[in-house]
Symmetry: C2
Subunit: 514 residues, 2 copies
């Protein structure tokens, strides 16, 4: 009996749902590992995660899946390009083609090395011991190169690594963006650092932990993060994870002496969470059922954390509630003082503590350094010195050690070298571009935010970004939502206006952005 296209599509969906459920199961195992697992659970958890990963990889590279997709391509060609089925078959084909490039043995070897390197880093960093990490990092570099080779021919060895995070982007396109941005930022950073520093002492002190968490979660749910399909827990490093369309969880961390950690980590992860929760239910259980790229994902965390979450309008509404939650701390602190404090710009050594303006400088120098390593222009042994040189030249700071120097981020030490950092800056750039587009469509958004209402903004994002999942690649999504390709202009406008006001900068001081 001839199987119809409907039968075949049903089989494809069944196979993809199983892969999705295995990935969701692995995500649950990881979440539990980070939140509640007792120490004794670690060895078996490692095995269970490896098993889920292997079972998923077997299914992702099953030749039967490839044959099924091939047969369905002719069906897809008869459909409009933006039809759900067409997108499903297109993305499934792309994922399959990528998955079969990498031999299973390599996946397992790389994964084992990543665990070893991560584990060593957790000890080496506190000990400021770069020497012990050097051979592991050299191996990471070698494996990252080998990984890229599976996708030869390529224009640049970083292209396959970038493509994994931000499909459709290349080393050339990322580099062009970062070069342009670095030039544009330099005048703004210089102008701000010439001004008197903002006093942010009101953010420090001793804040009870439970009200910190409750307060951040209160804003996150006001944004639209749905606790019927999510929850907030505490972890060492905040993250967002998807178990299924109905269960997308976020985590935060709490510092008793720094109000901003829990608050902005929660808003940041809620941005990721709302993106995932907003994916159309019809796409759940398929490869289309999550955010389209690391950069677009980061745009949503940064939009809600920074563009909305650090705006004066929002705090006009929420600051009295913060004062009520911590009356001893804020009763004598004016709103404007608090708002300035959460937006203080100050070159610093640590990326994760950087302000909005200097944050990208941290990213750009990391990108340049990993590019130099991948291209063979920089040896791993020379990384600490190169790092120090760039912090001196780009941020005017000398890092006293490697712990808070080139060993501060987990990315290179637990993962791969190349393509690890650029998504953060793409996220910053796109956060402003999307927000500007939402404002063009709905000029009433700032007034609503000032009243603690976010449904128009959230609705525009749901409609133009979230619901599409991976149906469109980042570039197409950006064009559809904003009417133009990715551009740094809205981002620089946003920074210039916001920090021009906060630091009372003369327009001439910002000349370099022209």
């Amino acid at each position: 009996m001839q199987r119809t296209e409907k039968d075949l599509l049903g089989e494809l969906r069944g196979r993809l749902a199983e892969i999705s459920d295995l990935a969701g199961t692995a995500a649950i195992l990881s979440w539990d590992q980070s939140t509640y697992m007792p120490a004794g659970g670690a060895p078996a958890r490692g095995r269970q995660l490896a098993l889920m990963s292997r079972l998923a990889h077997e299914r992702r590279t099953d030749p039967e899946l490839g044959r099924l997709i091939d047969v369905l391509k002719s069906y897809a060609e008869k459909l409009p390009a933006d039809h759900d089925d067409a997108a499903l078959i297109r993305v499934a084909a792309r994922d399959f083609a990528k998955a079969i490039r990498v031999p299973t043995a390599f996946v397992e070897r790389f994964s084992a090395h990543q665990s070893t390197a991560y584990d060593a880093w957790t000890r080496a960093r506190p000990a400021n011991d770069f020497a012990s990490m050097r051979p592991l990092l050299e191996r990471t570099l070698e494996l990252s190169r080998q990984y890229a080779e599976f996708f030869a021919p390529y224009q640049h060895i970083m292209d396959p690594l970038i493509d994994d995070m931000d499909e459709g982007m290349t080393c050339a396109s990322v580099r062009a963006l970062l070069v342009e941005l670095r030039a544009a930022l330099s005048g703004l950073v210089r102008a701000i650092t010439e001004k008197p520093a903002i006093d942010d002492r009101c953010l420090h002190g001793n804040f009870a932990e439970a009200p910190q968490i409750d307060f951040g979660l209160g804003i996150a749910t006001a944004f639209g993060y749905d606790l019927a399909r999510g929850r907030l827990d505490r972890t060492h490093h905040p993250f967002c994870t998807r178990f299924s369309g109905g269960d997308i969880r976020i985590t935060t961390r709490v510092y008793p002496d720094d109000l901003t950690q829990a608050l902005f980590s929660t808003l940041h992860e809620a941005g990721h969470g709302m993106y995932e929760q907003g994916v159309a239910a019809a796409l759940d259980g398929t490869p289309l059922g999550s955010g389209t790229s690391a950069g677009v994902h980061e745009s949503q965390s940064r939009l809600w954390e920074n563009v909305v979450g650090r705006s004066l309008g929002l705090w006009g509404h929420f600051y009295p509630r913060l004062q009520a939650a911590f009356p001893d701390k804020f009763k004598n602190v004016p709103l404007e003082t608090f708002h300035a404090a959460i937006n203080k710009v100050e070159p610093s050594l640590i990326r994760t503590e950087a302000d909005e303006v200097t944050y990208n400088l941290h990213i750009i120098l990391r990108f340049d350094l990993e590019l130099a390593m991948l291209e063979g222009r920089l040896a791993v042994k020379d990384l600490p010195e190169a790092w120090r040189a760039r912090y001196q030249s780009d941020l005017g700071l000398s890092s006293p050690d490697d712990r808070d120097g080139c060993m501060q981020d987990v990315h290179w030490f637990g993962g791969s070298i190349g393509g690890a950092f650029h998504s953060y800056t793409i996220g910053n750039v796109l956060s402003a571009q999307f927000y500007a587009a939402a404002l063009r469509a709905h000029p009433e958004i700032p007034a609503e935010i000032a009243e603690g209402r976010f449904s128009t903004l959230k609705g525009w994002l749901d409609q133009n970004l979230y619901r599409h999942g991976r149906k469109f690649e980042a570039d197409e999504l950006v064009r559809r939502a904003t009417g133009e390709p990715m551009t740094i202009r809205p981002y620089m406008d946003y920074l210039t206006r916001k920090y021009g006001e906060l630091y009372r900068l003369a327009p001439a001081a910002l000349a370099t952005r022209a």
Copy 2:
């Protein structure tokens, strides 16, 4: 190249470890479902659990596994019977032989029916609506019979169902035990109910939840429940679950108006937890790596909850701490009043709230009723009336409705009919038999308990029960640990002595136990 026995055993262990890891993963998914999962996660969680179950079943019934076990049987025969490898091959063979008896399609059909019936029961019970459950329960009975038929020939249709819970036991042996126990208990229950009721008002009131949980967990960890390999969370129904040898979690529930719920649920589940934590590390990841039967498991929860946890000796040590934790409640309540209150005997309608003495009457009547249903002597439609008749004759109570009558327990409605309840009573009987054996070996145990020390008792249990996992069937384990087969004598001695003192019973009143 000829594969050695070591190679083959290695392959067997690898296959069994994968089955164990799939089961552990399913346990994590279930635990999360009961503890932290938001409502929206339910549909995908059902699919993920079904997938883990199918993957495990495929591996448990893989003909290659059967061939491997067959080849290894000759190796096992050369080893002493209590060698770990011999036990492993023996138990793996038994599990495989049982697993292949039941067709996969039946497993899935039964499992789907169980979910449907459970879901219906959660609504029908509060509505006191037995009529809507009747067809579902009839189907459960039919499927339970079909399940038993896969193990034909058998002596009694309940034998295969009992064997799933308590390997080696049969309907005949369970019935003989329950008949003997019912007769022995009748005089004690009559004597107690003729005495004035104990005043247990001190246990009721308004108890803050966090200190309730902390207090119970404090005793559980003093017993020896290890938080480095476990944790305590809150659920609607308390349970214990094993993810691996290093991660065995328990849950409890808290009633603000009843101190005993959280306290004794925690001690009960800690008993299960200590059994699982005590299994030798070498058995982890194999079918030997957990408790040997439902009855022996229950003996450990009841031993720690009741024999130890409700003893005057223990409270001599812990009562001052309870008074300190809830000073308003207990400062004027003498130790003896508190101890009598937590041991109050009173025939009641609800099994889970029953005292130690009448608890078994609830079990015995349920066993008799499910036996009658399985044998076709009792129709499902007549169950409510038969239930009422037995509560009247056995406990002297008339149940006003089905909600707190035959619909009160989930077992028949969410699972299967036959073999669901007897393990609780086996647990009670064995709890006293094991404790008496420990006391013969270490007469100092009661004095240690009175000082809040439990390591001698825990050590004896580790050595004689826990570490063996499933290496020995219950009957052999009981004989090895206590020197005789299961017997109700130590249990009746325990009840008679304890409640004789508490209720000041004249020896003559207990004559029926002779």
